[in-house]
Amino acid sequence: MESKSCNNFISYVELEEHEMQPLGSSRRNSLSENNIKLLPGESFVTKAQNVLMFSPVSDLNQGTSGILSVTNFKLTFVTTDETNGDDVARQQNHLYGYMDTCLTNIEDIYVTVGDKKRKLLPGNIVPSKNLRTWSFSFKFSPIGDGKNLLQALLHYAFPNKHDLLFGYDYQEAYYSSLDKAVRLFRDISDWHNELERTIRNEKFRKFWRLSTVNVDFKLCRSLSRYIIIPASITDSQLIDAAKRFQGNRPPIWSWSNARGAVLVKMPELLPLVTNRIQENIMFENVRKSHPQKMPPVVLELNKGISVKLIAIAFSKFASLCSPENIRQFWLQDNNFYSLVENTKWLKYVSYCLQKAVEACEHLHLGLSVILQEGAGTDLCCIVSSLVQLLLDPYFRTINGFQSLLQKEWVAGGHPFCDRLGHICKRTSEKSPLLLLYLDCVWQLSQQFPAEFEFTETYLTTLWDAAHVSIFDTFIFNCEKERVAAATDPDRPLVLRSVWDWREQFNEQDILLFDNPLYNPHEADSKEKRVIKPLYNVANLELWNQCYFRWIPTLEIHNGGQNHIELYARLLRNDMNQLKMSINGNCCSPTDKSNSCSVQMNIDSFYPFSNRKSGNIVSTPIMNSSILATKSLLEAQSLITATD
């Protein structure tokens, strides 16, 4: 019996790589019960024998037989088919395998009897939040196995308390290898530095101050400990004002441009507050903090869009992206364009981009912009992040992008736990705001392929990672909850940042996060490179990799847009080699210390391919994590020097 572990994917990674990467494999091998690999702290719950797993979007006639098991972390399918897992070129996660899904990733469970589909009660179709649908049949299982398994699944996949998430049980010791350049905005220094970075002009900076009024979360539970507010407001004024606003949140600073115009996130007044004085006082304070005392522009983000509408749009859109069988797939194909339009998903993507462009136009004219919405923790996060991506090239680097997510979303108090639906609570409003944001970013990366340091694979992986309950980044609603969990005297949660990608992936996969077309433009960094996207629906595209990757019918064999990336990666490697040769040090690509390989015959969803590629052709290249940007830069400066 074959069970899957990273070591099976040998042809993909060179041998040396494996010796360097014992972490993942050893971890998964550490405990084994019933032929499934368990993580430290992971425990086996139950299993069903002789389960049939159907291939996705098929005619549901043929399946693979295997054992389906539930642990407190994942649903895992171990097949008796020896060949499975071999020769497959796809992203490998240290924490779970291709035939596993984290329980937190389970959206719903359906049972199908004949043509009818029933929700939630013991079922055999399991749609994931990342649009992958698993279909199983217990027809050949021993009587009772299916029922037991489903009951366990229902119990473990939909926890009603936060500390039932697997992150609390995970026993693996954590040694952070997180890049220091990723700023988590948990410490005061990050805020201080950000203020200095964005407002170079000291005169302008004096209009804003770093306040510690919320250091004990007394002002507002959803805000971080440190906030930046107009210098003209005292802490006590702020406490007074906050009471009138939703979520007890005062307006806070997000970003400034060189002219001193700022971007501010602000909640709406509480519904019962009719007196708008406090709101006007806040407007006035923002005005006073403008170098020319210009009144700010207020952009309301609550017209025709809401957290709930986004959730509805996405659930329609998701069903379009995960057809139940091949018949439905082709039926949808007949009027796919209008079906997409009816979901309104692209309309909301367009809306967010449009608001961001509007805000940028005001900021460009030197006017401060206040983004206002409900509690200021949802659409405000999307739009403020987008504005900063458009105006500040730093945020288009990988570390910058991660820092931005920390600043605007994590520290900004976006209720990740509620929105991603980690906990089964009736009061929590589930809605994929993060995905909407990632989709917007993807649209930008399509329109400006040389402006972003990361690839779409990075963005897709990030969306997947949001459903892995091991990392603290996306499992809390706010910093206060995170601090409480981490400092719990009985059972402190080890905080693992999702940005520590080596916890999940090896160098080979992390390499695919690097956009080979990226042009950092350091040489002319005096002016910030601004990008201005087109936002109307006619200029938007569907994010094929993220939304269609589980539909094998849509995988273009040996083709797809990712071949552009592949081509550019090899081109860049050529350039790096040339540069090395020019500098006189001949670096052989077989040099173990810094070699990775690039797979050549990739299909369009690579590295999320469904298909087993027959024979994998790969080419070694230099590890570009060190070389990618720097050497190119040097190369570029070399060329300008010779001119």
Binding site: V297, L367, R529, F548, I556, Y567, L571, K579, S581
Partner: protein
């Protein structure tokens, strides 16, 4: 609470961009393919960054390079032009009429005053009231119909003039002064030279002369192309039975047939096929010898006639492929249409009569359905992108910002996707692609030969065989190979370009017109989107071909068959489009092209609506608000240049080293594992 309306913002935007003179709807270059001044949104908020941000915007300068190069070329031509103010002229082009004080009513940037000139080749408008001249240029071959708008007594500004409807989706509106019949002369000249055949004038291609470095008429040699595929061989032979076009007047003089077939077989089969278009070879698989053959429908009729000779001949085609004992007959039509054709004496092969043959209907509709679909597509895109007459008429009176809103109404923007869908254009594309894919699947994966036909075998059949060959054979994905493919499957096998396009003919609503070739090119574009590295040419090449499909500057797409072209001495009297394209190949090269051996030999694109997209850079190219170009190309080109410079530098360094230590050995070459770039 919002301090500014978006309309105001648009105004601000527009003012900012004025100094960039970016609002020209030009088609300056002769190829008129891409709009060099489309960079409307290429200005960024920071003017400082604008100057250097050539890759920062969605509309990169990709094609500005192209236009710049072409402009340079055109300057040479300009020397021949009449005077300073007149339009630049090609060799053989003469100014026929000039109208001063004309207003061009631009749907995007408002009315422009200037001079309108008509030559025997083009319409040329040049502004007089702007610092950077605003130029509109349209080859008259592109004009589909011309109408007078308003009368001498019409009220309102710009209400009296001429409206020109183009085959490339543009509608141009010129306003004239309402006195002295100011538009009469220009209108008459426009009529005459747009539709020369209706006015007993020659097509411009017969007056135009220019010498190019390469003679495009030599691109396609039928025998050389058959030899490339290995014919003659044991199974297939070249036949010259049609060298006087006596067997079939719409077929070429040279073709390939099964070696076992006698001339009598061919004659008998031709007699049983519509218009004598018997099955002949299109392509042969280099390994399996499975073939694609093409023909017209059999003349079965209501009575269910049979022809033993035709049946035997089809059997010979099957036998020529030793790998399979089966033959697929792909009938491009929907089955009901094939049945209906029996009433007109046509029909389809019965599986009883044709042993071992399996008949498949591919559900592709006829030319009339396609024409309607394109008309709707134009309607949809026009709503969002162009000046529908309705909105224009209103627009005359409103201000600039409102005009923008009218031309890009939010309501249409919101229904963009369903609007596209309702045209069914993309659905037709999908069926054509799916049909070609089935052919490829049979030939490549099942080693089975395929016989393709529709009714007459010159529209849908050409689409299907052309696309299948493009997917199967990387040669056709090179620039010259693609030219050969068009010459062979479209021109030599008698696609009726004259009727389908209506060169020089004023009957714009002629039922024989249909965008069949455009649809083929759209399919090629769709495949190139799914396989960005597989094609040597870029989309600018495809658009250039389409522009000259209408322009009548070159002889390539004139007439409907090889016989007619020979008769009219097209090769001697006109210039080939390929002379023009092949002497400036660098413009049409895809920087991502990657011709590694065994890399993407056979392309199997996915014919799903999820991947089939409106070709905006063709259909919406006149609209500055649409994203037109692929910045990936620009960036890749930059990287290629950078790499080239590094190579040069390395080479120099090595030479220096070699000269320094001339007696000792030079250092070994750096390891080059894989180079994606082919010089």
């Amino acid at each position: 609470m919002e301090k500014r309306s978006s309309a105001e913002l648009l105004n601000i935007e527009q003012n900012n961009s004025k100094n960039a003179s970016s609002d020209s709807l030009n088609s300056d270059s002769k190829s008129s393919s891409l709009n060099s001044k489309m960079g409307q949104e290429s200005e960024s908020w920071d003017k400082a960054s604008h100057s250097k941000s050539f890759s920062s915007s969605s509309t990169s300068t990709d094609n500005n390079i192209v236009s710049a190069l072409e402009a340079r070329k055109d300057n040479q031509v300009k020397n021949l032009s009449a005077g300073e103010t007149g339009p630049p002229l090609l060799n053989g082009e003469r100014v026929q009429g000039i109208a001063h004080e004309v207003t061009y009513v631009c749907p995007y940037s408002g009315p422009v005053r200037g001079i309108l000139s008509i030559t025997n080749y083009k319409l040329h408008f040049r502004s007089v009231d702007r610092e950077t001249p605003y130029v509109v240029e349209v080859p008259l071959g592109v004009v589909s119909r011309i109408e007078k708008v308003g009368g001498a007594s019409s009220k309102g500004e710009n209400s009296y003039g001429i409206e020109v409807f183009c085959k490339d989706m543009r509608n141009l509106r010129f306003a004239h002064k309402q006195e002295n019949h100011s538009r009469r002369d220009v209108f008459e000249k426009l009529q005459q030279y747009s539709f020369p055949l209706s006015h007993k004038l020659p097509l411009f291609a017969f007056e135009y002369s220019e010498t190019f470095a390469e003679n495009g008429w030599n691109v396609y040699e039928p025998i050389a192309e058959l030899k490339r595929m290995g014919v003659n061989n044991d199974m297939w032979k070249i036949s010259k039975i049609n060298d006087t076009y006596s067997i079939c007047d719409s077929y070429p003089a040279v073709w390939a047939v099964p070696a076992a077939a006698t001339d009598e077989d061919l004659q008998a089969s031709a007699a049983f096929r519509s218009r004598g278009r018997l099955p002949v070879l299109s392509w042969i698989h280099p390994e399996s010898q499975a073939t694609i053959t093409r023909c017209a429908q059999p003349l079965v009729g209501v009575g269910g006639k049979r022809s033993r000779e035709d049946e035997r001949y089809v059997q010979l085609i099957m036998d020529a492929n030793a790998q399979s004992h089966k033959l697929f007959i792909m009938d491009a039509r929907p089955m009901p249409n094939a049945v209906a054709n029996k009433a007109k004496g046509g029909g389809y092969e019965s599986e009883d009569a044709y042993q071992n043959a399996e008949l498949v209907f591919l559900d592709i509709h006829n030319i009339h359905v396609m024409r309607e679909s394109l008309r709707k597509l134009k309607g949809t895109l026009v709503c969002v992108t162009n000046d529908s007459t309705e909105s224009l008429r209103l627009a005359y009176r409103v201000t600039f910002s409102n005009l923008l809103e009218l031309c890009f109404p939010t309501i249409d923007e919101a229904r963009w996707l369903s609007g596209i869908e309702s045209t069914v254009w993309l659905k037709h594309i999908k069926y054509v692609l799916a049909g070609a894919l089935r052919i490829v699947d049979k030939v490549e994966n099942h080693k089975t030969s395929v016989l393709v036909h529709c009714s007459d075998g010159w529209d849908r059949t050409a689409q299907l065989t052309g696309l299948a060959m493009l997917m199967l054979d990387p040669y056709y994905r090179t620039i010259k190979g693609f030219e050969v493919l068009i010459e062979k499957e479209w021109l030599s096998f008698g696609h009726k370009f004259q009727q389908r396009i209506g060169h020089g003919d004023e009957h714009h609503s002629d039922a024989d017109r249909s965008p069949v070739f455009l649809q083929f090119m759209d399919c090629v574009w769709q495949i190139s989107r799914q396989f960005p590295n597989a094609f040597e040419f870029n989309e600018h090449f495809l658009i250039t071909i389409l522009d000259h499909l209408y322009s009548c500057r070159f002889g390539t797409f004139l007439f409907s068959s090889e016989r007619e072209r020979v008769q009219e001495q097209v090769k001697h009297k006109t210039v080939s489009l390929w002379s023009y394209t092949n002497s400036q190949l660098s413009l049409y090269k895809n920087p991502l092209y990657w011709a590694a051996p065994n890399y993407q030999l056979v392309l199997m694109p996915i014919a799903s609506m999820r991947y089939i997209k409106p070709w905006k850079s063709l259909y919406c190219r006149w609209n500055p608000s649409m994203r037109q170009q692929d910045p990936v190309y620009q960036r890749t080109r930059e990287m290629l240049v950078l790499k080239e410079q590094l190579e040069k530098q390395l080479e120099e360094g090595r030479r220096e080293q070699a000269s320094r230590a001339s007696r000792s050995m030079t250092s070994p070459a750096p390891p080059r594992i894989h180079s994606p770039v082919h010089s």
